[in-house]
């Protein structure tokens, strides 16, 4: 109430009505990324990126004739705080029209019931384990079939026969490794040739595990490490690898959570040749990418600023949302949910990405090798885009499931075998 009266007083005193009124009427964009705590290392960059994208969009005339207004909150790497703040964003004074946010799967799982209950929109930009589909969440990061499976295919083509699956102990690595184990066994890899190991968040005492991997890899078969190690535990892991003299030509490591950002904390000289699988690398050769990097460097004022895959995912997600709102002519959540399916926008690798009915997007998959300047050099790439698959085809419990949020089906968990819908509006 106070706000309105003070605005009214301001109008009277200044005698200019229109610009101030336009100022009041903005489209609010929620940014839900941790700016403190353990995840701040990865997430704070995404907040800055979104602020840049919003600023650019406002310079270009905003959206539907209105300006975009960022609403930034800091869930402090506390999963339950994510849920609380998402509810604040969706019900509080500045009710947001869309949320861009989250990094870890644990935080997404916490926010999911909130956005479903309050009917919000969440764009989630990070590669994840799949086995989930929500009517209110758009997954712009990679599903396992857009990252893990192609990476393993590439290594198989390079003659790898023995696999060490190392991961951090939480839902994403455990589910991904479950899918990978099933996939490898389908391809005739014996139980003895698979080693699985989990370590806690922020683990730094890698010596005995790396030594075990070294031993595992010296049994006469070409061995590779598939790493779902998350966060800053990667730095001591790679340091230990190079100290124990394991080079990429002996035992290559392919990582799913190591990007340019993470490498900026490591001397990459001894790591040259180790790999990462993503849908985007900063070194990708395209004008869209070079423009994006130039803007980013200018925005941050840091000549050494890096870009990475989740940033591209937000770039794609943000533009898809803009396009869907324009198409629907409103920011109403239900209208946008319908209009966004099928929306195609340019991505940063020179092609374009489309939103699929299962709320995942299409993207190319790339394998990059680490270079001594902390960048990746792309050594392999899928010939076209790969559509994200919400439910893995390699797990017995989900191989018959699909997700399709288009009317009239509107189902997130449709069993194509029995044609029954197990979750979603279509279930009723």
């Amino acid at each position: 109430m106070n706000k309105i009266t003070s605005t009214a007083a301001l109008l009277l005193s200044m005698g200019i009505a229109l610009p101030a009124a336009a100022q009041e009427d903005t489209i609010k964009v929620g940014i839900l990324h941790s700016l403190s705590g353990t995840m701040a290392i990865s997430e704070s960059t995404l907040k800055d990126e979104l602020l840049m994208l919003i600023e650019q969009q406002n310079e270009n005339g905003g959206l539907l004739g209105k300006q975009l207004e960022p609403v930034v909150m800091d869930p402090a790497s506390d999963w339950s705080l994510y849920a609380e703040q998402a509810r604040d964003m969706l019900t509080g004074d500045d009710r947001v029209d869309v949320i861009f946010g989250n990094w870890t799967s644990a935080s997404r799982k916490a926010v999911l019931p909130v956005v479903e209950e309050e009917n919000g929109l969440l764009f989630y930009p990070v590669q994840y384990e799949g086995e989930e589909s929500s009517e209110n969440i758009f997954y712009t990061g990679a599903a396992p079939n857009q990252q893990a499976i192609p990476a393993v295919d590439y290594l198989m083509s390079q003659g790898v026969e023995r696999w060490a699956l190392l991961g951090t102990d939480y839902v994403y690595p455990r589910t991904t490794n479950k899918i990978l184990e099933a996939y490898l066994k389908d391809h005739g890899v014996a139980d003895d040739d698979i080693m699985v190991n989990y370590t806690p968040f922020g683990f730094s005492n890698w010596q005995s595990i790396v030594s075990e991997v070294k031993d595992f890899g010296s049994q006469g078969k070409k061995t590779a490490v598939v790493s779902t190690i998350n966060g800053d535990a990667n730095v001591p892991f790679y340091t230990e690898l190079s100290n124990q003299g394991i080079s990429a030509s002996d035992i290559p490591v392919v990582a799913f959570s190591v990007g340019e950002q993470e490498l900026s904390g490591i001397d990459t000289g001894p790591l040259v040749g180790h790999m990462a699988a993503w849908n985007y690398f900063m070194s990708v050769d395209s004008d869209a990418n070079y423009d994006f990097i130039d803007n980013w460097v200018e925005y941050t004022g840091d000549d050494m600023a890096v870009t990475n895959d989740p940033m591209e995912a937000h770039y794609i997600g943000f533009n898809m949302w803009l396009e869907a709102v324009r198409e629907a002519g409103t920011t109403d959540v239900d209208a946008v949910k319908d209009s966004i399916i099928g929306v195609t926008v340019p991505n940063l690798s020179g092609g374009s990405s489309a939103m699929m009915p299962n709320h995942h997007i299409t993207k190319p998959v790339m394998i990059g090798e680490i270079q001594d300047d902390g960048q990746f050099s792309v050594v392999w790439e899928t010939s076209g885009n790969v559509a994200g698959d919400a439910w893995s085809d390699y797990l017995p419990e989900s191989q018959d499931l699909i997700s399709d949020w288009r009317a009239p089906l509107r189902c997130g968990k449709l069993n194509v075998d029995t044609m029954t819908c197990e979750d979603g509006a279509g279930a009723e």
């Binding site: 701040a40 704070s44 806690p200 922020g202 005492n205 595990i209 070409k222 800053d232 340091t239 904390g265």
Partner: protein, 551 residues
């Protein structure tokens, strides 16, 4: 002879028309080339610019097989620039003008505008960027091949290290074609180290051919390729299978001993980290009885000091690290004294409030670091003498950064122990701890002793930070990950006893590392925690109880 080896990487560059050649042969060829080059000094002539252009042109392809052939062609050509080309290609600095015909070498690829030179004439060509120069990409297989090519090109007469490297590569790679060349090489070779490798390579070949006498040479050899080959033979039905199995058993038991030694080292080094982190706490908590939840952040201060000193001394990580030892101590001690003077001394005798207040301080310090330095981790470089490993033999190697931390830990412990035992401050600290009132009445200024003791404990935490900067991330959360472990060690070791901290830290480290390969890192930690809890139930005073009367 068909065993495949972990080190026998078949580059995809060899899967094309040259597939028949195989990587193993390639190595033998490289080895032969080394010998050949030692005799014939290569004559290099200028090639025409057109020819040079054509050689570089062949690299401009997305197909790594074709690229590998192009690199091979360059190495075999007469071009005087070829070594520089291959080196630039290896470093990812050879590239071609986008929408143009010229080839460039990037002389410095840091930053976004690079100085470039013409790849054929080596004339300066201004600057380029990723938009104007398309650098040729290589993959793992091509990288390995380029390293081999460059080694053979830049080799004049092959020093001992190069010959040793080549000889090591030969193990398991000798075949009927190359056996005579290798035998001839062995006859000419004088260096005992290289001879030993060549003998192993030959013996392994002969064993694979069924020569039981050659097994004698392999007895006790720790090379994994020898072990793998013998395992294949022992599992087969060759006449020498039984004898090979015997030799293999000998090798395995020898390796097992070295592995135990390695586990012990891992355990001691993990323990030394715990001891370093905990020993400052052993003073503040153990001796003074202050529950200092900000102890971890004092460790972090030491680590950040190391980073800042390194920023001030670019290019000299070793000197910076040495300077950081007093620097980290002083900075953390100053913070410690500040905390003691401003907060803790007002909360004396109120442990719960101290706990909450210091926890608050720890959060403030973390956020301070985030605001001042950014939430991102900082990269602390390791000097050369702390990188890599001390390779004692094939089965046992000690990583130098861990070894350094272990030694540093022992030195810090010894210094601290001597300080407490032999100096006046140490005497006063012990006096105040044992009986505050009595010490004060004897003329000890207890408040001053409190301040100095807390400063000392904080300073030692800073030293821990300097050491930790070499083995883990330097970031705002550094301290958090060590605070629980530190309390665990101090409580387990016996409050108020430095020896207890040392023994507790080391034994927890060893137990953890022994358990880890069996049950995984998470469960190992759980087991250790449960073990300590049970131990404390049985013996609340910890491993080493403080002597004397308890009131």
């Amino acid at each position: 002879m068909t065993p495949t080896h972990a080190t026998n990487v078949r580059p995809e560059g060899m899967t094309g028309p040259q597939a028949g050649l195989g990587f193993r042969h390639c190595l033998t060829v490289v080895a032969a080339l080394l010998v050949w080059l030692a005799i014939v000094s290569p004559v290099q002539a200028e090639v025409t610019p057109q020819r040079a252009q054509a050689l570089l042109q062949a690299l401009d392809t997305d197909d790594f097989d074709a690229k590998a052939e192009a690199a091979q062609a360059i190495a075999a050509s007469d071009a005087a620039q070829k070594t520089r080309w291959l080196e630039a290609l290896l470093d990812g600095r050879l590239g071609r003008e986008r929408r143009g015909e010229r080839f460039y070498i990037i002389t410095d690829d840091s930053g976004r505008e690079w100085p470039i030179i013409d790849a054929i004439t080596f004339e300066e060509a201004g600057t380029g960027s990723r938009r104007s120069v398309d650098a040729f990409r290589i993959n793992n297989a091509l990288r390995t091949q380029l390293q081999g090519l460059i080694a053979s090109l830049s080799l004049d007469e092959g020093d001992e290290a190069t010959r040793l490297e080549a000889a090591k590569r030969l193990i398991g790679e000798v075949d009927a074609q190359s056996v005579d060349t290798v035998a001839a090489q062995l006859d000419d070779e004088e260096s005992p180290a290289v001879r030993a490798e060549l003998e192993t390579a030959l013996a392994l070949y002969r064993v694979e051919q069924g020569d039981a006498a050659a097994l004698e040479t392999l007895r006790g050899n720790l090379d994994t390729r020898v072990r793998n080959s013998l395992a294949t033979i022992a599992a087969g039905d060759a006449p020498i299978a039984a004898e090979a199995g015997e030799t293999l058993a000998g090798i395995e038991s020898k390796r097992a001993w070295y592995e135990r030694g390695q586990t012990l080292f891992f355990g001691l080094s993990a323990g030394s980290v715990l001891v370093l982190a905990a020993i400052g706490l052993a003073i503040t908590f153990g001796v003074m009885g202050v529950i200092n939840m900000a102890h971890g952040e004092l460790i972090m201060m030491g680590a950040y000091t190391t980073w800042m000193i390194q920023q001030l001394l670019p290019g000299q990580p070793g000197l910076a690290l040495l300077l950081a030892i007093p620097g980290g101590f002083l900075v953390a001690a100053a913070f410690g004294i500040l905390i003691e003077r401003s907060v803790i001394r007002f909360l004396k005798g109120r442990p719960l409030e101290t706990l909450l207040a210091t926890f608050g301080i720890s959060l403030i310090l973390q956020q301070l670091v985030r605001t001042v330095f950014s939430p991102l981790n900082r990269r602390v470089a390791s000097p050369d003498w702390l990188q890599g490993a001390w390779q004692i033999n094939e089965a046992l190697s000690l990583t130098l950064n861990r070894l350094g931390v272990l030694l540093f830990c022992l030195v810090v412990f010894a210094a601290l122990w001597a300080l407490m035992r032999y100096t006046r401050l140490g005497l006063e600290v012990r006096a105040v701890t044992q009986n505050r009132a009595m010490a004060r009445s004897m003329g000890v200024r207890a408040a001053r002793v409190d301040m100095l003791t807390f400063g000392l404990g904080a300073g030692v935490a800073g030293l821990a930070g300097v050491a930790l900067s070499q083995i883990t991330n330097v970031g705002p959360n550094l301290g958090q990950s060590y605070i629980v472990d530190s309390f665990l060690v101090v409580v387990f070791g016996g409050v108020g006893n430095l020896w207890g901290t040392l023994v507790a830290g080391m034994s927890l480290g060893v137990i953890n590392q022994v358990l880890q390969p069996w049950v995984g890192a998470v469960l190992a930690k759980v087991i250790v925690l449960i073990g300590v809890i049970l131990f404390i139930q049985k013996r609340p005073q910890g491993l080493f109880a403080p002597k004397g009367r308890t009131s």
